[in-house]
Subunit: 324 residues, 2 copies
Amino acid sequence: MIKVGIVGYGNLGRGVALAVSQAKDMECVGIFTRRAPESVKPAINFPVYSIEKLIEFKGKVDVLLLCGGSATDLPNNTAGILKDFNTVDSFDTHAKIPEYFYKLDKVAKENGTLGAISIGWDPGVFSIARMLFGAVLPNGNDYTFWGKGVSQGHSDAIRRIAGVKNAIQYTIPKEQALSSVRNGENPNLKTRDKHLRECFVAVEDTADKAVIEKAIKEMPNYFADYDTIVNFVTEEEVKKMQQKLSHGGFVFRSGSTTEENAHLLELSLKLDSNPEFTGSVLTAYGRAVARLSKEGKTGCVTVFDIPLKYLSPESEEDLRAHLL
Amino acid sequence: MIKVGIVGYGNLGRGVALAVSQAKDMECVGIFTRRAPESVKPAINFPVYSIEKLIEFKGKVDVLLLCGGSATDLPNNTAGILKDFNTVDSFDTHAKIPEYFYKLDKVAKENGTLGAISIGWDPGVFSIARMLFGAVLPNGNDYTFWGKGVSQGHSDAIRRIAGVKNAIQYTIPKEQALSSVRNGENPNLKTRDKHLRECFVAVEDTADKAVIEKAIKEMPNYFADYDTIVNFVTEEEVKKMQQKLSHGGFVFRSGSTTEENAHLLELSLKLDSNPEFTGSVLTAYGRAVARLSKEGKTGCVTVFDIPLKYLSPESEEDLRAHLL
């Protein structure tokens, strides 16, 4: 049995706990939290410990699945944890991945541990598609679309506007852009052409809706470059929408091998629960990290470095016989 | 530069030659054929040699891309070639893959060579999707659909019927089955539910079309378990259809992480030219085999064993920065 620990218990930690409970080759030594352990009621009956107890589990856990956020948790904590444990994380700040990689690679190699970074669906499953598609169809264009799904960053940005009580923002791929790519037209798509941003906003009674709508639509980086729809709704409606964590998206490679012959490769995901699916991907890579570490591998790795067979609990013989 | 050789020059060999000519990190030492070399006019101006000259290239080529068929060429020849060369092949007789693997693995390990088998889109890219999807969504069902595209085996079977001059058979996924899977209904699909077989047949003037149609529709293994449409057309029409080598298909994983939350993962390929795309996949795996062999890897490998980064001519740094 592979012994895993879960670090952090928000939506993603819950998704990981569910996935680990369904993996027949894994057992969970504990959930480690910054909160008071007795205040955490996990979906699965795993023991809950204070994060301060984590070090006592050194040598007793094969891999830690890190469920903190990319803004502060992972950049601040992962290097320290890697000194004593193997890890898998979902670091998704694309621009900072190279820097994060080198920092963790150094720590892991010095300490004989292994850390898989940027695991999930994007980065993660989508990265695999982009890399594989580009390698087998080198003459072509990549297109990645996200949604329909909630962008936490954009929802937070709306909530920071004065007079806004709560808000949720959906990123929606534009049908026309999807169709054009699917028709092999190889369109040159600007930011505005690819995604629509739809916002549901609950405001104070005294707030000026026109001012808030303008503030959202003209917000640089977040909304100014997009077509944005703003709907004013009640706090209850926003709260209800926040219960639903569905997401998804598409990766396309549209290219050709000769002037006559074009090819279209497409990966799509439709996910009822973003954190549950992401947790499931983290868990599969936890299996891979535990195995690779036993084989002596150290350092920092991504989805590009790990042979896919390590993700599955099936034997290599079974994989060749049934899935090849 | 990676030095490759191309063994066999039919449709697949032509596709590989086109792909190798577009790879900036590869050069082709030659095309090796059983035919008279001067009778082969390759699409790319690579040297053409008799297959008997192949052994003279031992030590002068990093990997051979084998473009023979799975019925006789590959089972009869690959083990012998692997004694002296690294190889990539597209062996696609699913039921015989385990046996083929063990035979080649032994030869390759004894001779310090590396052979990648069953490379293409199915087996190959589709196998990657089945394996990855199943690992990240263990609770679910797999569905693979092929087409619309030509089945050579079924076309051959029709041509063996007395009175048939020429024939082509298209495998077509049934829309209703695709929709049901896409709707997350997790249908239990029988052979007849998944694919339709449409045949275009040119017959002798004296042939009894009713008898031939019956012979096709009732043919065990090939057509009896399917809904089959038989169209009688002229030889010219069949010949024209045989010029077009488009194909494609779909791999789905439909499953759930909890009772409430279902997920649908889909990979689809739409290919104008089956052999050109397959040749492009073989070429990317040729790059991987050449590199892995230089690192000392020997034996037989499949898409499950090879980290994806080996497929790309880009550096690991660039892959992490741009594709992750």
